[in-house]
Amino acid sequence: MGAYALRRVIQAIVLLFVVSIVTFFLIHQAPGGPAMLANPDLTQEQVAEMSAELQLDDPIVVQYGRWLGHALRGDLGNSYNAIEPVTAVIADRLPNTVILAMASIAVSVLLGIPLGVVSALKRNSVLDRAVAGFCFMGTSVPVFWLGIMLIVLFSVRLDVLPSGGMSTIGEDFSIKDRLVHLILPTLVLAIGNLAELTRYTRSGMITILQEDYIRTARAKGLREVRVVLAHGLRNGLIPVVTVLGIMIPRAMGGAAITETVFSWPGIGRLAVESATSRDYPVVLGATLTVAFVTIVFTFLTDLLYGVLDPRVQVG
């Protein structure tokens, strides 16, 4: 187990290196420079000076080497847009995305798995088809459209929910206020994952429920609930755990659209905005953060896999 963990750690380090190299080269290849140079009021000389200050004219390998040297010492540089260290910018925004991601994953899991189980049990029934239809819509509907539609319905028309932000500005901190602001973005972010989880659970359960040991359990006279939950679900959850291992990091880094529509100050939106404005240090910082989170969760998923399925030997 120790050797396995060590191997994973080395893999992780190598992976982070590769991510940093690819990201660095790609974002510098993108035409156009940092947005603060794109200010029409600046003269040509000023643009040239500022470009030289940022050392953007050096060969790309040199620039990467310089960045790496600082990064290895924990210095990710300063954001061009925010006059602040990159670590501070990310530390500011990361928790907000974590909250949103966890909430949406919780909703997806708490609704998706039961829906999937019920669909599997009542295969091809009206309920199953209705759920399937809902899932189809859930994975097809564009997030930005759904977000705006919900805002129009619940904020503008019905005026029961806020249309964006994490909290009501100017008011003191209150859990209730935070939760109310969390409702719509969580729903929007959860729908896609919910649909996927339902389908995965359903197909996983269908396969399991046809296994011999299920038939045995039923033959033994065990109550259906126990058969399904204790014997079936535990195994049926294995593919679901794998999918969750991907969904969590995806919710962390890929919530950019939801965060933009709901003005949620998260890291997904930060990554997209910094890429668009070529805020190179923040792009690197945000990408590496998401990569790191992905690596951690993939590792945890693999461990969990080993716990759930004794046939699988981790390490």
């Binding site: 794109a38 006059i83 705006i148 249309s163």
Partner: protein, 544 residues
């Protein structure tokens, strides 16, 4: 005022007017009502009341620091309420006037090469320290400092020295006569405190940014990245305490979300596009009004391209665009056809008596023929058989402009020109603009309210990204800058407009109007572009 109400009461009228005209009536009456209320703040029905929080939207994170302004427009907006300039702009009878802000008065010397500004007395910084001429000198010197990436350095480059003979006097000496120095000092040149910034790195004043200090009607309170920036009223403001208790600059990056929040009353001000006006016409919380601004939209022309150096080709392109249709259809009527670079708001200088290019495809074709580009089948070719091709570049993220581009492409291709349309991200677009990597490029200038065209039109100007070179124009521009007599000056600029309309350095399209979705509770917000209206933030108040 609701289209449905009108329709119910006047069935015959309903049948006669088109839907668009209804919307225009509704918008105009709503706009007139809001404008009327806004302009009559303090006078008529409702007397101003103090108190309340006013919220407006920003598209991105602001940095409350006028010197470098890395966040461009977002910074400019919050700086308007936290800091003051020496002068500010006022709209009177549809003409822009310059009035003192920190300055009491100013006086040029005989040939406009030196200006003496007298400052108002008794002004204090938000931290209680007295404001003096030393702060002005510090701000201007640092703006001109080559080590500092000041966004207004180019605009103030003419200043060779700035001195403070006493605490309330500042003397500017210029490298050449310049009639517009006072106006330029009101263009995003917020004065910063010397006692807090001297000795700091002015490109990264991290300590100062924890608690920005200005002289403005509102004091910085709090900034939550990605979320909002909040300011509180400054009770010691030199014009008297502001009416509002606080202002929230809410960061709402998505345009549709801004409209939704304006509809629901969560935002007191959002700037909207013509297609969004309809969505707001039924809102009970907000009304849309249009206000003029000093800006013009145009197709920039790359004058290093031999094809476009021929003025006949430029005139042909101008004649192939139906500018009236652009204004009426694409802009929903919110705009006016542009005759040249000087905006009608600069009333003493503007003239419409110049060559115009009414839409006429046949005439456009004839002009191309005359220029040596004749039709070979359905393609325009020159004497060597080479086809006429144009690369047109536009910025991404502006739906109205994208429509203008597509329309132009259509029209030019109707003339037999092969058009390659490229829509680029803003940073890429601007880079191509600066390096003449285009044939035509759709853009706009929002300028200080001065008729001076040096920065973009003079052949030696570094912001002349079209590489336009016309000695007559160069001459007139310099004359205009140095002319002391106002009547003579106005004449020079009228001549200049005539020359520019004939020579068409760029293809003038339209003067856009700014569309403000204002909450019905907002009063006292001047009916001018919001960048300038915000310099009067102490006058805004809310009913409730």
């Amino acid at each position: 005022m609701n289209t449905a109400d009108l329709a119910a009461r006047l069935p015959q009228l309903h049948a006669q007017l088109t839907r668009r005209e209804w919307l225009q009536i509704a918008a105009a009456s709503g706009g007139a009502l809001a404008t009327g209320l806004a302009l009559r703040s303090g006078a008529a029905q409702d007397a101003p009341v103090a108190g309340g929080t006013w919220t407006m939207a920003l598209a991105g994170n602001p940095t409350a620091y006028p010197i470098t302004a890395p966040g461009a427009l977002n910074d400019i907006l919050v700086n308007k309420v936290i800091y003051n300039n020496l002068v500010q702009y006022q709209l009177v009878d549809n003409a822009i006037q310059v009035v003192g802000d920190l300055a009491e008065s100013w006086e040029p010397n005989a040939d406009l090469s030196q200006y003496t500004f007298k400052l108002k007395s008794g002004i204090t910084w938000h931290d209680g320290q007295p404001f003096t001429s030393a702060d002005v000198v510090f701000t201007i010197q640092q703006t001109l400092n080559p080590e500092v990436n000041a966004s207004q350095r180019g605009n103030l480059a003419r200043i060779t020295s700035v001195e403070a003979p006493d605490d309330l006097t500042v003397v500017f000496t210029l490298s050449s006569p310049y009639a517009d120095l006072p106006i330029m000092l009101g263009y995003n040149v917020g004065i910063v405190p010397k006692h807090l910034l001297e000795g700091q790195d002015l490109n990264e004043p991290t300590a100062f940014l924890q608690q920005p200090i200005g002289t403005g009607p509102f004091k910085y309170r709090e900034f939550s990245a990605g979320d909002f920036l909040a300011v509180d009223a400054n009770p010691d403001y030199f014009e008297g305490p502001p009416l509002l208790e606080s202002i929230i600059f809410k960061i709402v990056p998505d345009g549709n979300a801004r409209v939704a929040q304006a509809q629901s009353g969560e935002l007191d001000l959002a700037i909207v596009e013509p297609p969004q006006v309809e969505a707001l016409s039924n809102s009970s919380s907000a009304t849309v009004r249009e206000v003029p601004q000093v800006q013009y939209y145009f197709f920039a022309v790359n004058h290093t391209s031999p094809t476009l150096q021929n003025v006949l080709v430029r005139r042909a392109l101008a004649t192939a665009i139906d500018k009236d249709a652009l204004v009426n259809e694409l802009l929903g009527g919110y705009g006016a056809v542009a005759t040249g670079p000087i905006n009608p708001l600069l009333a003493e200088f503007y003239t419409s008596e110049v060559t115009t290019y009414p839409y006429d495809l046949d005439a456009a074709g004839a002009l191309l023929d005359e220029a040596g580009w004749t039709l070979d089948g359905d393609k325009r070719v020159n004497a060597n058989g080479e086809p006429l091709t144009l690369v047109i570049n536009g910025p991404q993220g502006y739906p109205t402009l994208e429509q203008v581009l597509i329309y132009a492409q259509q029209q030019f291709e109707g003339l037999g020109i092969t058009v390659e349309l490229i829509i680029d991200e803003w940073t890429v677009h601007l880079e191509k603009y600066r390096t003449q990597d285009y044939d035509l490029l759709l853009n706009w200038w929002i300028t200080p309210p001065t008729p001076d065209l040096f920065a973009h039109y003079h052949s030696t100007a570094t912001s002349n990204w079209w590489k336009y070179n016309n000695p007559t124009v160069d001459d007139l521009i310099l004359q205009g800058q140095a002319e002391v007599d106002p009547a003579a000056r106005a004449d020079i600029y009228k001549q200049l407009q005539v020359v520019l309309a004939d020579d068409l350095p760029v293809i003038y399209l339209y003067y856009g109007r700014e569309l403000q979705a204002l909450s019905n509770r907002t009063q006292g917000f001047p009916a001018m572009g919001y960048r300038d209206a915000l310099t009067w933030s102490e006058q805004i108040w809310v009913t409730e």
